[in-house]
């Protein structure tokens, strides 16, 4: 009985693990991830800056989008970011915001 319980738990655990793996795969928007990857040169892998630039990982979505829009319009003066922001669409700002918001700080 004990043995069976143990096996059941193991199987259940394996199923949960499989489901989790499948889910986490589906959740990764590869296009958003690829877009975000270019930011890493200044903002670190997956937005985990190792210094000098803001950490984008875990950043609030609306804050990210609004700041990018302000860089794009010039409402917020920038040293470098206005040159990047103008190259992306508002839809891409949304995708980037989703990606970075989903990264653990």
């Amino acid at each position: 009985m004990k043995m069976i319980q143990h096996q059941t738990l193991t199987i259940a655990g394996a199923i949960v693990l499989l489901l989790f793996t499948a889910t986490s795969y589906a959740e990764v928007d590869a296009h958003a991830r690829n877009l975000a990857a270019s930011c890493a040169a200044c903002h670190g892998t997956n937005g985990h800056s190792v210094g000098g630039t803001p950490v984008l990982a875990g950043l609030d979505k609306a804050l990210f989008v609004n700041q990018m829009k302000d860089f794009k319009s010039g409402a917020r003066p920038a040293t470098v970011m206005h040159n990047h922001a103008k190259g992306y669409t508002d839809e891409e700002f949304g995708k980037l915001a989703d990606f970075f918001a989903a990264q653990k700080r």
């Binding site: 991830r33 690829n34 890493a40 040293t79 470098v80």
Partner: protein, 425 residues
């Protein structure tokens, strides 16, 4: 189903042992035995190392990655001009590959590739071979010494340094600058575009001038540019030369160096004979030699044409090319090598699962130049895929600094820290 992380570490430990002690592998045998789907990468610079890390990271370690590199350490070419100015040493720019091995389970093989067989899908080294499902060529550039009479690789190593790959030559060129008498001329010659790091020679002029201004103020930097004009950040460099280094920097356009007299320290351009105390000839460049071995240097026998959705060669199946060797209307920069590497890594993961690559890649480039020991300028652009023309084109926006600043100097240093972390850690 797949190997877990511990198995991978065990495997990679075994692989490393074989790689380090090539005597264990008999000639003609596989250096690291292939277990599953495998990508072999030739060249562990900005492009190759980034591709290696991201294939592992984004495939949840499911794809085997073998990274072949001839040097034991990674030395950053970006920022290496500051070694000439004196604000850094080459050791500040040197990193090891340990984290790529330990954290990501990448098989590191140190050695020189001698042959590539695109049909058998193998890469041969002195002590054996490696088979691949897909190969990434990331060799950076090689120099076309034969385009300048009197110049060759030996001369470049011994006396007329290009220092266009960071390392021993960078330090030796700094020593030549230190040994130069006050009142001397330091000549920098620039090849016609395309070449690695378009703003690099002009940044170098600033760094050399910065040293001269403080140490040998009667001396000069003479720039002999084969191009008709300054090819990058023109206004910012001209302002730096005029305002920071008045009377020190002289710029001559359309001055392609054709010949060098090593003993007499003279150069011949089409129009001039130039004598200098230090000659820094940056020769014309082409894709690294392994591109030729793979048969992918199909543009003028010099650069490699690729599909910009996957960076797969236009002429060899399952061989991808990234970084400076690629023929593209993109600057040959460290950041773009990493951006291309990531598009390539993502595409290979899709292709290996029978899916199509991301059809709409957009990549960014941020490039800083240090115009003094503390101040920098930048150029930044986003490039996106144009499906009709099948090329990468600059997106809207993009541009250069409003003016040089210490803020950008600080950002440049943090750019280096972040990008090195993204490539190697």
């Amino acid at each position: 189903m797949t190997l877990d992380r511990r198995d991978f570490l065990k495997l990679s430990a075994a692989g490393i042992a074989i790689g380090v002690f090539p005597g264990c592998a008999t000639s003609g045998s596989e250096i690291v035995s292939k277990k599953g789907q495998r990508v072999v990468i030739v060249g562990g610079g900005f492009g190759g190392a980034t591709a290696a890390k991201h294939i592992r990271m984004w495939s949840d370690n499911k794809i085997e990655v073998v990274l072949i590199e001839r040097n034991s350490k990674f030395i950053s070419c970006p920022m290496s001009n500051t070694v000439l100015g004196g604000s850094r040493t080459i050791s500040d720019l040197t990193q090891n590959y340990d984290t790529l091995k330990k954290k990501y389970g990448i098989e590191m093989v140190r050695g020189e590739v001698t042959a590539i067989d695109p049909q058998k899908q193998t890469v041969t080294l002195a002590d054996g071979y490696l088979s691949y499902d897909r190969l990434i060529i990331a060799p950076g550039v090689d120099f076309m010494f034969d385009k300048i009479e009197g110049l060759n690789a030996k001369v470049a190593d011994e006396s007329i340094h290009h220092a266009w790959k960071a390392g021993a030559q960078t330090t030796m060129l700094r020593k030549q600058l230190e040994s130069m008498d006050d009142g001397g001329v330091f000549a920098i010659s620039i090849p016609k575009m395309p070449y690695r790091c378009p703003p690099g020679p002009y940044e170098r002029a600033c760094q050399v001038a910065s040293y001269l201004k403080n140490n040998k103020p009667k001396s000069k930097v003479l720039i002999l540019d084969a191009n008709p004009d300054i090819v990058s950040k023109k206004g910012l460099f001209m302002a730096a030369w005029k305002e920071l280094y008045p009377g020190i920097v002289e710029y001559r356009p359309n001055a392609e160096v054709k010949q060098v007299n090593v003993a007499g320290k003279t150069l011949k351009t089409e129009f001039d004979d130039v004598k200098a105390d230090v000659l820094n000839i940056i020769p014309p460049m082409k894709a690294g030699a392994v591109a030729g071995m793979a048969g992918v240097a199909n543009v003028d026998n010099r650069w490699c044409a690729v599909d910009f959705l996957s960076y797969e060669s236009k002429v060899q199946k399952n061989i991808h090319v990234i970084g400076d060797s690629v023929s593209a209307a993109l600057p040959k920069s460290g950041h773009l090598a990493t951006s291309q590497a990531k598009v390539c890594a993502a595409a290979i993961i899709e292709l290996m699962q029978g899916r199509q690559p991301d059809p709409d890649p957009a990549i960014a480039n941020t490039c800083y130049s240090m115009v003094s020991s503390t101040e920098a300028v930048h150029v930044a652009h986003v490039y996106r895929y144009n499906a009709e023309k099948k090329v990468m084109l600059p997106a809207d926006g993009g541009g250069v600094s409003a003016s040089r600043s210490e803020v950008e100097g600080t950002l440049a240093n943090y750019w280096l820290k972040n990008i090195l972390s993204d490539v190697l850690l």
